[in-house]
């Protein structure tokens, strides 16, 4: 029963355009979940949308947790209408998150778009180990968490589709150039979250250079618990459930 909970909306702040930061206070105490894990949230009480929606843990602040989200469709639109004091039903934390070895240094983080939500959570956890963060967005405005990253001592290498911030273009290309310039040590480990095409090209790069990398994947979900088998991705070991074996997978296991 512990992972079925109600949470009260403390704040649901519009950051920019269709990006929001939702702060939730669980109505019972829960332990701080690791980065990369997620919650299934009820976006509305009615029957349409019917299913809960999965959201990564973005931050954990004194018993409250934060969800950083982008309005993608009906469910997230309804979520954006939640007001302080509203109650949301949640299941979580779920899945296997980013698992960083205790002694692992030389950590590279890669985030594309709203993929920053869980990547930031990871950055916060391991900030003392000075990770290198590559972060691509569509445009300058959509570069989120920059100040919070700064407080952690992290200054991301940026790219934007329209060139309004950092290099113009795709973040994996920027990363490639950057990492070739500096010494690309093989004991580095990459942790990434972002759109499918980004992860796919990251995976080509890491394969080529024999680098270790982990990616947080997305898939439509119904249960979030591993029972419906709806959220599988194809891996070298057969179909695996994003909600249960994932959402974080070794990137070289994934068949794109």
């Amino acid at each position: 029963m512990d992972r079925l909970l109600k949470a009260s909306v403390i704040e649901n702040r519009q950051l920019i355009n269709n990006h929001y930061l939702l702060t939730l206070q669980p109505l019972k105490k829960i332990r701080k979940p690791g980065p990369g894990r997620f919650f299934m949230l009820t976006v509305d009480d009615g029957l349409d949308p019917l299913l809960k929606r999965p959201f990564s843990i973005h931050r954990w602040t004194g018993g409250n947790f934060q969800i950083l989200y982008r309005v993608a469709g009906k469910g997230t639109h309804l979520l954006s209408k939640k007001k302080q004091g509203d109650t949301i039903e949640a299941i979580g934390p779920l899945g296997n998150g980013f698992n960083v070895g205790k002694t692992q240094n030389n950590i590279i983080l890669v985030a594309g778009g709203i993929g920053i939500a869980p990547v930031f959570a990871l950055a916060e956890t391991i900030s003392k180990r000075k990770p290198l963060l590559f972060y691509g967005t569509r445009t300058k405005k959509e570069a989120l968490c920059i100040d919070n990253l700064k407080s952690l001592g992290i200054k991301p290498v940026m790219s934007t589709d329209d060139g309004t911030l950092g290099t113009k273009g795709n973040i994996i290309n920027v990363m490639k150039k950057h990492l070739t310039r500096s010494t690309l040590s093989t004991d580095c480990v990459i942790y990434a979250c972002g759109p499918g095409p980004m992860l796919r090209s990251l995976s080509e790069f890491t394969k080529k250079h024999g680098l270790k990398a982990y990616a947080a994947l997305e898939q439509n979900m119904a249960c979030g618990l591993g029972t419906c088998l709806g959220c599988v991705v194809n891996t070298v070991n057969g179909y695996k459930r994003v909600c249960k074996e994932g959402p974080v997978f070794p990137i070289d296991e994934i068949i794109w």
Partner: protein
């Protein structure tokens, strides 16, 4: 008012006795493990496990699910770990509970159905079998088991010979005459019928022009289908003498009672488990309250009690 203490929730499905009429629907409850965190499996009327086949099956490529208005389409493609793995790795967990285990299974041929039933029949800890002849994820003429009464009769009567466990036949709603299908199952020796399985549906992404499911079509479940399911349960109740197990969009005690009034002896919760993992428990308590409030002693009194 009847006190809760004196309320009798027991129901019978053939020779199988359930302590209450609330079961889980196959494919929505895995093999029980995940939900044991949220509910007390001992309290369930029965657990129905994800559909099993002789050999493990990897299922369809993703995307496998998509939401639709008040419903969802799934095309899991009957992914499962196979009967042997189930018996060795999953059944021991379920045996711990004082709750009947109903195994949903299917085959690609009559011979496979019979063989599967035989193996399941001799495994200890299985209380009933539910034959899925109705999954709409068609492969090579596969769907005829559930839509052609002649073939249905044949496969059910063969399986009947292979098992002395309570045999439930799970019917497809994608047919012209559901009563005829139920009658066919009854004539072939089924102890009960369960319905509805999913309605075949499709959704298209207009931007990519591709079906939203990799399998093109999938099965529709959830509240959207409830009126169709209630009607079919009512038709089957009028047609056959064996118990009917009702499902299709049940999310609340009210929904469950609607099915029972239409003729269901027991009900199963499918998509409802995804929306809230405690749905089965809430339904059970709700049925009890409803009975207490209305002075109903035995839930059996409600079966088919709709006043038409």
């Amino acid at each position: 008012m009847t006190g809760k203490k004196t309320i009798d929730l027991k129901v019978n499905l053939g020779k199988l006795r359930l302590k209450n009429p609330v079961m889980t629907a196959s494919g929505t409850f895995g093999y029980g493990e995940e939900y044991s965190e949220f509910i007390d499996i001992n309290k369930l009327g029965a657990v129905v496990v994800k559909g099993l086949s002789l050999k493990p099956k990897q299922g369809n490529p993703p995307p496998r699910i998509v939401e639709t208005p008040a419903g969802m389409l799934n095309a899991i493609g009957l992914q499962n770990i196979g009967i042997e793995n189930f018996i060795n790795k999953k059944l021991p967990f379920l045996k711990q509970f004082d709750t009947p285990v109903i195994v949903n299974f299917f085959g690609d041929s009559i011979a496979e159905y019979v063989k599967a039933a035989g193996i399941l029949n001799s495994a200890k800890g299985i209380h009933a079998l539910e034959m899925n002849i109705s999954c709409p994820n068609k492969q090579a003429g596969w769907s005829i088991f559930g839509t052609d009464p002649k073939v249905t009769f044949k496969v059910v009567s063969q399986v009947r010979k292979a098992t002395d466990l309570t045999l439930i036949v799970k019917l497809s709603p994608n047919v012209t005459d559901i009563g005829l299908m139920a009658k066919t199952a009854e004539d072939a020796g089924a102890d009960a019928v369960s319905l509805i399985n999913t309605l075949t549906g499709m959704a298209i992404d207009i931007k990519s022009r591709k079906p939203k499911l990799a399998n093109i079509t999938g099965g529709l479940s959830g509240p959207a289908v409830r009126p169709v399911a209630v009607r079919m349960v009512w038709e089957c109740y009028k047609t056959v003498k064996i118990p009917v197990i009702g499902m299709g969009g049940i999310l609340s005690a009210e929904d469950a009672i609607e099915f029972i009034l239409a003729g269901a002896s027991a009900v199963a919760v499918g998509t409802g488990n995804f929306i809230n993992p405690r749905t089965t428990m809430d339904i059970m308590e709700g049925i009890e309250c409803f009975m207490a409030d209305n002075g109903i002693k035995s839930v059996k009194e409600l079966t088919g009690a709709v006043q038409c």
